[in-house]
Structure formats: C-alpha cells, structure tokens
C-alpha cells in the first residue's frame, strides 16, 4: 500500500481509526485539533459513522469518552495540555474506574508556547494518575502506538495517555498503514461496580491500581517503542524521550551515535534499561521535550551529579528542544551559521483586516478612554490579540471562561465598570457557569460575547453555542432587556458605543453580543 503523508496528529487519528475506535471526542486546541478534524473528514470514518462531533469542553469530552468505554467500545479523546486541566477531574478518576472498551487520552503539549498561555508536560499527569503513557518520536510511531495502547488499556482495564508535542503534531511524513481492526461489539463491564466510585469501592480500586504498577513497568521494559542501543563510548549514556530522540540522532551521521542510547517512548519508565545505562556509563544526559520529568526522578532530591539535562544547565530549563540545543549539550562544535540581520523587525500575529472583533474593540476603546485602563477581563481566542496595539482594549487572559469570573470578583471588590470579553465558543466551553454565578449575585458586570459564528483561532471548528447564545443567557437568568445584540461594523460604531455605555450604566448583569461571522468563515462558505 502507498504511504500516507500525514501530520503527527493525523497519524494518531489514522492509527486510532485502524485500531477500531467507535468514537473520537475532544475540544479544539492547538496543537491537538487536527486529530478530530482528520476523523471528521475521513471517508472510512464517515462510512462507519464513527462519533466525531466536537464536545462543549474537554471535561464533557472525557466523560463522554468514559461512557463509550463503559459500553465496551474503543474510543479516543483529544485536547491540548491546558485542556487536560479542564478535564483533570474525570481524568484522575478514570484511573480508578478504569476502562471497559480501550481508552486513549491524546494530549498535545505546546513547549515554547507557540499558541498557548503556559507550557506544561502532560507526562506528569500520567504519573500523577498512575497511568501508562505513550510518547511517539515520529509519525510512524504515532500511527502504530494506538494499536498497542488500546491493547494495554483493555488488558489492564485502564485508560492510557498519549502525549505529543507541537513539532510532531504539526509535522508531516510518510506513514505505512497496518491491517485494520474491527470495532468492538457493544458490551457492558463484567464487573457491575467498575464505574462506581463510592468510597468503599474507590479504596479497593486504588489498591488495585497500585498493585498493577509493577506490571505496567514490565510492559514498558518489553515495549517495542523503548529501545536500548549500545555504544562504544561509555563516558556518557543518553536517555532520549519521544521527539528528543530525533534531535539526538540528527547530530550524528546516519544516526550513528557513539554513546549508549536509551530511547523512551512508553511509561512508566522502563526500570531495567535505566538501571543498565546508569550502571554502565559515567555520566547520563537526559533529553526530554518539555519538563525534566525523567531527569528529576533519576537525579532525586539528593541531586545525583551524574545526571545531566535541564536541571544543571546542560540544556535550557524551559522551551522546546531543537537540533542545535541538543548539539551543544552533546559538546559537538556548532555548525557555522549567520545571524539575523538587524534590519529584520518582529511581526507578531494580529487581528485580520475586516475582523469583527476589531470593530468591537474600537467601540470599547472609546469607553476605556473615559474610565481609564484596567477594566476589561478577556479570555482565550483570536480576540486576545486585542491586547496589542492599536487596540490595547483588554487587560487579562488566564484560562477558558476566566473573563466572566474575574469580572465578577473585581466587581465584588468595587471595580467599576467591570467588563468581560469572551468568544462564542469559549462561552460555550466555560462561560455559562460563571454567568450563573453573576446572575445569582446580581454582579454589576457587562459580559460581551464576541460571536463570530465559529471557533476561529484553531482553524474554523463549529461552535457548540451557535444560534443558542441568547436563549442560554435567558435560561441562566439574565434579564431579556439587558441582552443586547449589536452588529460590529464601522457604520454602526456610534450606536454600538451608545449601547455598551447604556449597559455599563445598568447596575446588574448585562450581556452584549456583537454578532458578525469571522471573515474566514465567510470565505470558506463561499467556496
């Protein structure tokens, strides 16, 4: 069969499909979005009617996943690293309920924060939950891992985590497909208590989870994805995790590294191989994309000087790796290269020409000039770019939904006006619950729901609240006369300023909905 040219994300999707999933759940988030998107447009997935609709947020997605697993089917759930924070409650508990049909929690981390508000390493979550984790180093492994991951998930009745990072998520390479597996038959858990976490059951389940840890280590020791390659020069041994393995091999002709190398792509850490490399080599360099998880465990509180990596400065403490950073840690001479000419100016991302958010921010800016800076709490999406010149219209960006909740807290502290700006999809994700808080407390806030008809930042995914925003606000208890829909166009500028001013003047919860589709949605729909 011909090789498929796939992004890392797409390879995971194709692998999950071929390993027999019946559903893919998730919420869009860079760099994870393309996993579900691929399944949404894949012909075979459509024919089989694999579930492939976006969920309202990562928590609902993970719970829906557990439901499908309960019914006996294989299922994958996808999110970005901060999405796993949102889903942390069901995720942690799923280590106790375990899985019936196999479960893969696929999480894409974004070291160096290309498109994120922080950098986290989701392998810590796997360790926290005592779950196995898989970390592919290339697209072919990203494709093959779901097969083994589902087998292990079903063998131990335990969800597994699959972790990728930006550079693999968004890099393409040729992938060979394997034989396609059938979907599982629907079947309920053999043990009717399996998904029941009353304390008496949960205690037993936790003991069971602890008891199988040694078996999970053995799985890692025997994993085809963990590989020990001997080397003649034992002055150093190298442990390279996931993608970092490539940056190591890049620095040697045809990947011929003179040192012993342990590649880790399946966790818990394979004990046998780690003990071997540590006992045989004078020094150990640990290469990890993300945070120093393996390094910290090996180094320990007593700081074993033999272990080198991000903690002793051999590698930078933060940010993603690349071939030249790893080259330096290997003490190889730098390749000759030129500097960026001084004439080159920075080109940060910006709102597109004709963006509806730009018009809303222009109106808002006038009012900010009147009340002074520091009154606008914002959220996660394209509209966060409203912080930058020429708009400088917002003051905060923390996490999905925080605009409304922070406005409430600030209003409670006496800040006036307290304004929230939040996108339509973000509102559906995590804005409805704080709005309920606001209604209950009659908070004096203005919530501006920027409705551009789509989840724009991540590349045009359907928004769950499309066509439902006013009804949701009414349902939550916002007074009808203080739900105002405006059209953010230059010609409506003065009217819009007036309406925002009126709602600032109202002492209570106001919702303003500037509604105009993203210009890219319009282009896409015309095609």
């Amino acid at each position: 069969m011909k090789k498929l040219l796939l992004l890392g994300d797409e390879a995971i999707a194709q692998g999950a499909l071929d390993a027999g999933i019946s559903g893919a759940y998730g919420y869009p988030g860079t760099p994870s979005t393309e996993i579900v998107e691929y399944i949404q447009r894949n012909k075979e997935a459509i024919e089989k009617d694999i579930h492939r609709t976006w969920s309202a947020n990562e928590k609902t997605a993970l719970e829906e996943t557990l439901g499908m697993s309960y019914a006996g089917k294989r299922v994958i759930v996808t999110m970005k690293h901060v999405g796993l924070n949102v889903a942390a409650d069901p995720y942690m508990n799923s280590a106790l309920t375990g899985a019936n049909g196999g479960v893969i929690v696929a999480v894409a981390d974004d070291p160096s924060m290309h498109s994120s508000q922080n950098e986290q390493d989701s392998r810590y979550y796997a360790k926290f939950a005592l779950m196995p984790a898989f970390e592919p180093s290339n697209q072919q492994e990203a494709y093959e891992m779901p097969f083994l991951a589902f087998d292990i998930s079903e063998k131990y009745h335990l969800p597994v985590l699959m972790r990728v990072t930006t550079r693999l998520s968004h890099s393409r390479a040729g992938v060979d497909r394997r034989e396609i597996l059938k979907e599982n038959e629907k079947h309920l858990p053999k043990n009717p208590n399996q998904f029941m976490l009353l304390p008496a059951f949960a205690r037993k389940k936790f003991k069971h989870l602890l008891a199988i840890q040694d078996d999970l280590v053995k799985e890692s020791e025997n994993s085809p994805f963990n590989k020990y390659t001997d080397g003649k020069d034992r002055s150093m041994g190298i442990i390279a995790c996931g993608l970092a393995y490539n940056y190591l091999m890049e620095n040697y002709d045809e990947g011929k590294c003179p040192y012993p190398v342990l590649k880790i792509s399946q966790y818990p850490i394979p004990r046998k191989q780690v003990e071997k490399i540590i006992s045989e080599c004078d020094e150990i360099l640990v290469l990890e994309e993300g945070m120093p998880l393996v390094e910290e465990m090996l180094k320990g509180f007593l700081k074993n000087q033999k272990i080198k990596g991000r903690l002793d400065g051999s590698l930078p403490r933060d940010g993603e790796l690349n071939p030249q950073i790893v080259r330096k840690a290997l003490k190889l001479p730098e390749l000759p290269s030129l500097k960026i000419p001084q004439i080159v100016a920075g080109r940060p991302p910006a709102l597109c020409v004709g963006c509806p958010h730009a018009d809303t921010y222009k109106a808002l800016k006038l009012l900010i000039n009147k009340y002074g800076q520091g009154h606008v709490f914002s959220d996660i999406g394209c509209y966060t770019l409203g912080f930058l010149p020429p708009y400088q219209a917002i003051n905060t960006c923390v996490d999905m939904g925080a605009s409304i909740s922070m406005a409430i807290g600030a209003a409670d502290a006496g800040l006036f006006p307290a304004i929230a700006t939040i996108g339509d999809s973000t509102f559906g994700h995590s804005g409805m619950t704080p709005l309920l808080d606001a209604v209950i407390c009659k908070s004096n806030i203005v919530v501006i729901i920027l409705d551009n008809d789509i989840t724009a930042m991540t590349g045009m995914q359907e928004s769950q609240v499309n066509g439902r925003i006013e009804n949701i606000c009414i349902g939550v208890g916002v007074e009808k006369e203080h739900i105002r829909v405006i059209n953010p166009l230059p010609k409506n500028h003065e009217d819009n300023v007036k309406i925002i001013q009126e709602e600032i003047n109202y002492n209570g919860v106001s919702v303003i909905i500037p509604r105009r589709p993203c210009i890219h949605v319009l282009k896409k729909r015309k095609k």
Binding site: H114, H170, A173, R347, L385
Partner: protein
C-alpha cells in the same frame, strides 16, 4: 540526495501550498520527507515558516538545524532574512521582493533589497509583478516555486503533477495559470541566478 528547505512568509501567503506540491513531488519520486509547519495563533498575520526536508536516507529531526538549510525560499523579503541562521555556507537564498507590510515599523525596502543582494547565492524576484503580468496575481507563490525548482533536484514534471494534484479540483483554468506561473518563475531564475 538531501535537500533541507526553509519556506517563509506571512500567514495567509500560501507557503503551505508550495510545501504540499514539493512534498507530493518528493514522495512520487520515492524520497523520504518531513515537513513541519505552523498552525494556530501565529497564522493570524504573523511570521510563518515551514521546515521541509527531503532525503533518500532516513530523516530524524522535523526541524532543520541552524546552518543546515540548502535553500531558503521566501514569498516575502523581510521574512526571508529572518531565517538567515538556518542557511548553510553555500546555500541558496531565493525570495520574492514585494513586501507585505502589516506592521508599523516595517524597514525601508531599498535597504532590505541591499541586504538580500549582499548574500552570496541569491535570487531576488518580483513574483507579485510576474504573477500579475500573467493575469493571475494569486499564483505569486507558484512563481516562487518555479524559481526554486532549479535547486530542488526533483524532476520538474513531478512538480507539474503536484500542481495538477492540488489544484485539480478547482478546474483546468486554475491548473493552467499555476503551471504558467511556475514556468515563469523558473525562466526568471535561470536568467538571474
């Protein structure tokens, strides 16, 4: 055979189409390929780049090392210079000269061109003008692909097949104008390299 190519531009300028066509041609020629690209926030009018690696041997890193690129191919002059650290000593620097100005402190264009002309192996090409003269201003990126085709070590007809493959759905006319644009870019580079 090994070609490491940095593709550069501003979000929305069409560098991913260039990457897709070269990628298609490489795979059809039986070569290995890795191509890293940028999604998400930076796509909104920010600087974007793609690392395209082609080889008949195994390719490890998805990213090209500093000092490792055989080719910088840019659809925008300032963006081309941003990736100078990637270029090898004898690498080729091929750029469009039409600036994309969406920032207040965009540098003086003449100074940019002087900087570009000072690079050892450069091809500076007004691809926007050439595309416009052909009556298809949207195929500027294909003019640039044509200019690069001389340095790719991939048969030209495979690139033509790539264009047919990705623009085929849009009809014969679109395919034709893109093929013409690529040819024009190639002819220009032949005369001016």
């Amino acid at each position: 055979m090994k070609k490491d190519i940095i593709l550069a531009g501003v979000g929305g300028q069409g560098i991913l189409s260039i990457a897709t066509i070269i990628g298609y041609a490489a795979i059809e020629s039986g070569l290995n390929l890795k191509q890293a690209e940028v999604h998400g926030m930076s796509q909104r009018g920010g600087d974007v780049q793609s690392h395209l690696r082609i080889s008949d041997k195994e390719i490890f890193s998805d990213l090209i090392p500093h000092g490792g690129a055989d080719l910088i191919l840019s659809v925008e002059p300032m963006e081309a210079l941003r990736y100078m650290p990637y270029l090898t000593e004898n690498g080729w620097f091929i750029t469009n000269t039409t600036p994309f100005v969406n920032i207040p402190d965009y540098p003086d264009t003449n100074k940019l061109i002087d900087e570009i002309k000072s690079i050892k192996n450069n091809v500076a090409i007004n691809a926007d003008q050439i595309a416009k003269d052909l009556g298809s201003s949207r195929s500027m990126n294909m003019v640039m692909l044509g200019a690069a085709s001389l340095f790719l070590d991939i048969p030209y007809d495979k690139l033509e097949e790539g264009i047919k493959f990705i623009f085929g759905r849009k009809g014969e006319k679109v395919v034709e104008s893109n093929l013409k644009a690529m040819k024009a870019g190639k002819d220009f580079a032949k005369k001016n390299k």
